[in-house]
Subunit: 414 residues, 2 copies
């Protein structure tokens, strides 16, 4: 048995140091502000849930989740997503709410990474659920809020691809009569096996309708592609009209530029029942956000209400922001105060009361004050000198002597 | 096998609804701001750690923790506290930092509740670690920052009791020569078995020194109690002087009023090596925060540095704030807009861009607009009327008609 090194983390685990933590929190704050502006309110659920409760969300139970046992031998899971727990919370704790319920969360989801694959086991997510509102207006709010909140974090060049499992299903049902072949087509799409889809679609039949089926997952564009589909498969016309209306409402939200129909979008959770969407940002291969409508989920927790929502993957969004070349942060307006820890805590306290950041050092650490300021990015270094302080500004290089009080020498906190 | 109800949560698990979530986030924001003012920077560690790594923190391994297995059969734990993971992070990822390292966290710790005892299994904690600074100055910063940051959340009547395991140990070693009896005394204190302590102390000997030993865990007061101890047990004089100096520095931080010597404080983690402290707030039985010095912890992760820190238990702090009678929040300055979801998203979007919170309803939900505003605490309800809107102010009862644009009718967001 080899010893586990002291810094070892389980597969997919990650420590976050100060610079990245601050960036992630800034992203969270921007999202929180934007969710709030649409009337969404935060809820929190426990990390540990009963497997039997989470498994209600889908036939056959969850595939990937960390599992353990409680004292009574019941199986617990670390929540593998937030949509299911928040749906549970809304259905069971807010059953009497007049609706619609608007809930958001900032939380972690947990999935064991596939063996040998470098994937995060703990995913920070920010998401919303709009429960008790149906139709294109509710779908449009979800899509527009996703575009608006991602834009609020500073990410540019965003593209949100929208599909609709009921639209795709209507085309399949219209063109394919064999139930086994229908199921195989849905399976191929869920697995993103586009070659498999094309092979199955060709087996389903020829002609214009067969051609439509074959190229369906490759359909991309604006509302005009919906007209083509409705013309060839009138059975799908209501779903096409609904999506056209949704796109129109998204445009009136001011979010139309980022949104495109992309019928290749197919989320791998079987609980989706209507629109599904994914957001991509330049330079990041995986989606930064995903969501859709799952009208059947509430009923599985005892309170049937339509619902639509999305989850933003914060690490992916953070990568997008970094790829876009976010600048290194300038030194922060804090002061490293030599002797502030053991000789002059009163001066440190007074400066903090005026809003300054004071990083106190023992007097004996004089020699490493600049190294600390450099390592953590503090702008000023102050040392006792005579009755006051000598202050170095690391940005301008200026050195001031005879500073009576720290809070006078430094810029006011913004 | 009985079916698990859809709303069931594992023992000690809890959902947090919107009002409480908002209060908890306000507490977190106040703590984060105050930690930052002392130069502490946030770090994040994964929930899942190797048991073999966390077990390094103490002889004999951890007692209570949720355990599971990874693909290779290695034991994982849900982190049972944050001090150990953050010490691991600082020792392994920041080994080259010039120091002192100031790190803070806002995170959950996980412990299985004892069978039949109603205790939270997931504890939200906010804490700091000051690594690489030794002596009374560093201890004083930790205690003063705890007092300052708790005060920033609005909690009043706070009391921080401070002890020192090295001081208590010096008295024990001075008065008791039998190693077994010494160990039994330490065990009684760790278990908070004060009757057991007194019985053991009486067995240790009579006289003034025996009396001091017997009443030691009941010693409370200001610096004067340290003089008494040093007079009776000169072997403990250096520890007494260190604590007196620490108290003097805390007073110069402006935090002296809340702090009292209480030698009955004894944290149950064996990694503490110097001062230990607990904060109590009126009306809450358990401590709202606890901390101390644990100079040996870094070495267990390969980088020996002195360290002191504390953890605030957010749920206990929140209870203290609620017990103190925090008022119900007034209606928030948001507007429920009938038709904003499906007929008028452009007006909703324009009002949001000006900073307003707009909660959009479908036109068909007109009848439940007031119920929704009541349920979620929104101040205004607006309906399309003519070319503009009719707006109800639920606080004043005023109804205004002919409002051209929402953002003109409502108070500017603060």
């Amino acid at each position: 048995m080899t010893e586990t090194p002291p810094g070892a983390l389980p597969a997919g685990g990650k420590d976050v140091l100060a610079v990245e933590a601050q960036e992630l929190r800034a992203v969270e704050a921007a999202l929180r502000e934007r969710f709030g502006r649409y009337g969404y309110r935060e809820v929190m659920t426990p990390v540990l849930e009963f497997a039997a409760v989470i498994d209600r969300a889908q036939e056959g139970g969850l595939r990937e989740a960390f599992r353990l046992f409680d004292d009574h031998g019941r199986v617990l899971v670390l929540r593998p997503d937030l949509t299911i727990p928040v749906s549970r919370l809304v259905a069971t704790r807010m059953a009497d709410h007049p609706g619609p319920v608007r809930a958001f969360y900032l939380a972690r989801a947990f999935r064991p990474p596939p063996p040998g694959r470098p994937r995060a086991s703990e995913e920070r997510q920010a998401g919303v659920e709009l429960v008790g509102a149906d139709g294109p207006g509710a779908d449009a709010e979800a899509v527009a809020l996703l575009a608006d909140s991602l834009a609020a974090t500073g990410v540019e060049g965003l593209r949100i691809g929208v599909a609709d499992v009921s639209l795709t299903g209507a085309v399949v049902d219209a063109v394919v009569s064999d139930p086994d072949l229908r199921a195989a087509l849905r399976g191929a799409l869920a697995a993103r096996d586009l070659a498999g889809w094309r092979r199955l679609a060709r087996a389903a039949g020829a002609g214009e309708r067969g051609g439509l089926l074959e190229r369906l997952p490759a359909v991309r564009g604006g509302a005009e592609v919906l007209d083509e589909i409705a013309a060839l498969a009138p059975e799908a016309a209501p779903a096409c009209e609904r999506m056209a209306r949704m796109l129109e409402l998204v445009a009136r939200h001011g979010a139309g530029d980022a949104v495109v129909i992309d019928l290749g979008v197919m989320r791998d959770w079987p609980y989706y029942s209507g629109i599904v969407f994914e957001a991509y940002a330049p330079g990041v291969g995986e989606p930064v956000a995903m969501g859709g409508r799952y009208d059947g989920l509430g009923a599985r927790f005892g309170r049937a209400r339509p619902a639509v929502g999305f989850a933003i993957v914060l690490d992916a969004l953070h990568r997008a922001l970094m790829t876009a070349g976010a600048e290194a942060a300038p030194p922060r307006e804090g002061v490293v105060l030599v002797g502030g820890l053991d000789e002059d805590p009163g001066a440190a306290a007074a400066a903090r009361r005026s809003g300054l950041t004071v990083v106190a050092l023992p007097a004996s650490d004089d020699a490493r004050a600049e190294a600390l300021a450099e390592a953590d990015g503090w702008r000023f270094v102050a040392r006792p000198a005579g009755d006051g302080y000598a202050v170095l500004d690391r940005v301008t290089g200026e050195r001031r002597a005879g500073v009576a009080r720290l809070e006078e020498a430094l810029p006011s906190p913004s």
